[in-house]
Symmetry: none
Amino acid sequence: VPKETFFNLNEEKQEKVIRAAINEFLNKGFEKGNIGEIARNAGVAKGSMYQYFEDKKELFLYTVEWSIRLLVQKYGKGIMSNSNGIDVFDFYYKNARDMWMQMAEEREVIIFIQDVFLGKYSNLIGESMDYMMKASEEMMLDQIRIGKENGSIRKDIEDKILSLFMTGVSFKIKEYMMNKARSAGVDMIDEAFEEVESDVKAMIELLKNGMGTRN
Amino acid sequence: VPKETFFNLNEEKQEKVIRAAINEFLNKGFEKGNIGEIARNAGVAKGSMYQYFEDKKELFLYTVEWSIRLLVQKYGKGIMSNSNGIDVFDFYYKNARDMWMQMAEEREVIIFIQDVFLGKYSNLIGESMDYMMKASEEMMLDQIRIGKENGSIRKDIEDKILSLFMTGVSFKIKEYMMNKARSAGVDMIDEAFEEVESDVKAMIELLKNGMGTRN
Amino acid sequence: VPKETFFNLNEEKQEKVIRAAINEFLNKGFEKGNIGEIARNAGVAKGSMYQYFEDKKELFLYTVEWSIRLLVQKYGKGIMSNSNGIDVFDFYYKNARDMWMQMAEEREVIIFIQDVFLGKYSNLIGESMDYMMKASEEMMLDQIRIGKENGSIRKDIEDKILSLFMTGVSFKIKEYMMNKARSAGVDMIDEAFEEVESDVKAMIELLKNGMGTRN
Amino acid sequence: VPKETFFNLNEEKQEKVIRAAINEFLNKGFEKGNIGEIARNAGVAKGSMYQYFEDKKELFLYTVEWSIRLLVQKYGKGIMSNSNGIDVFDFYYKNARDMWMQMAEEREVIIFIQDVFLGKYSNLIGESMDYMMKASEEMMLDQIRIGKENGSIRKDIEDKILSLFMTGVSFKIKEYMMNKARSAGVDMIDEAFEEVESDVKAMIELLKNGMGTRN
DNA sequence: GATGAATGAGGCTTCATTCAT
DNA sequence: GATGAATGAAGCCTCATTCAT
């Protein structure tokens, strides 16, 4: 956890520091990531970074936490609204749309967190990440339970397995969107999603009905 | 590419060097990975490493290449034999079994490559990896084409999307097995697979038939 | 010399600051001694330290001065009372007793000053210490002169040499007591001195009569 | 202990490194002592220092060890030759003469070690110094035992106390000589000793016969 | 070609001191 | 005057790479 001093900064400054860190870690990785550079880009003195964080690792860890919180704040909203009875897959699809929109303004954060979840920093995060993974998995399991209840998900397979499966696919969908987003550049505009839409729809169709032939 | 000098070593020595590198990079990552340590574990002089490779990065890159080649050599065999008419999913399942076996003797290499594919070293590999990704994707597309031909895969969805989907799921399956393998420890014995078997089967069932309810 | 501001503090606070400094310098030395830590332990703001003292060195120097003054105040009393005619060695012995008692309440200060006199901070104190050394030596010379007058000290040897000799021995006696005190711990009680008494007596006997055989 | 690499250097280089370290530590103390500076003065790269020593502390510790060994080699010779029957005090006096001579060429080493023994670096040396202290004390006790045997030292006082006493005085004598040496400058010549001689003699007389009046 | 010592750039971290409130 | 955050110089140490044998 950051030191008191950090939280005494106005939110704007806090954000500037963290975003500078995200940018640095994303581009150079943890080891090569340079505290001095982060400080410079955040417009604070190198020494100040140590007034805010115990050390580089703590800065990194907080950067992850901050990023996730930010994403949950925006992305999470949608999820929460699913406690009702709509079809899980519909929900999923809607979400994809939201995500695409977000990527426009939070590209870096999202990519950064994607790396984190991919295990790119597993040695740093280790156990401390577990609880987040758990939380994320829990969310997924909730989706599945809801789906089973409202009849949109088959009941003959264990939740755990379904969760794994869904995670795998949705991860790929996100990755796919991400790549599109990367190549679309910073100025991904609203309509750009149309290009992705049908592909995502197809993926969800597969998620739902599988790739085998009906017979 | 390594220098002439490296290839002049007898294969045994070459392998020892590379395996030492895999071990080091796997445990410490690229930046923290220590050339001196690799040399020591390989039983060669630190200076020699520079007689074999231009620099650390080249060593790393070759280590990746070597690992993939090794895996393809063993794992690829199975794939090649699929050009016949058996069901893609059956094939996939059989493959999972093989993979489990291999993990016993090539745990490190496999985990290392898993990290590589996960993008843990994306900044190092960058474009240079593309062709491998392509190769891997091509293989997947072959599977899909075969499946479509022999009627085991639905034809109403683009190959590319199917590939993405399949990749996502199979990646998850592998990850799942990997984790089991990790926790099973080094001495994963034959029978240990029984534990994983049913889960994998269920995943493949999902891959094939989806998680939606039939109606 | 400290700034006005420091002397405007009530004595209690002043003492708290200095004792915190003694404790810090004693345990960590000058370089490693941390101003922030001193401030924290004294219950003042780090910035205030610079309102009181020009810099770290001045704080240190004043800490030494303060310590000596404190010791002279308590220890010096005894000395002053010697202007009469009692035997120098008796006096010395009595003093040892007093000193032992004091160590109970001023252990840290005494040990700190011992270090100072041992030259542990010679680079800091340099010349500025000279006058104290002089004072201390002067005191010793007074003793010697008194001793010569009342016939308890031999007259055939220069005062300066006698002073050196006496200093050397008494230093050793103090050190010996100090060590006993250190191992005795904080709660050195009255009676503990009995253990040291005979040894000190023997030392004084040597001081007086030498270690050679009489013939 | 230094690493192999250090001992592989030719003795000349080894000495140059250590003497550079002595000079640095003597003038700046341990904390302020600068590895880079030492390296520069020794004519090696900063990084090399770490090929020779684990860290700054190890360098320091070895510097102490080296210094003591050097001194024992030169100074110790004389001591060893005392196992015969000459008067302890005569011996002591002779030794003082030797020491003076040595100071001409080993001023720095001697002053450095003096600081060490004075406890200037006690926090670094701690226990690790104990054995040297012990050795030094043991030597002193030997002297005393010999003295008691050949009748030059009184037998009614414990060895331990006599040792303390003698140590205190001889330390003062050395210090006195040292100071003379310091002020005499680097070019202390042979004859300069004449000035000190009588004073040392007087000190030894005191050591032997005490400062009390005979009656 | 092999070896392992030499090199020095680079980065994290500490902390005395200054500054703004 | 008090406070505590901001600052940035300084230094230990690591280690990829080069060099000399």
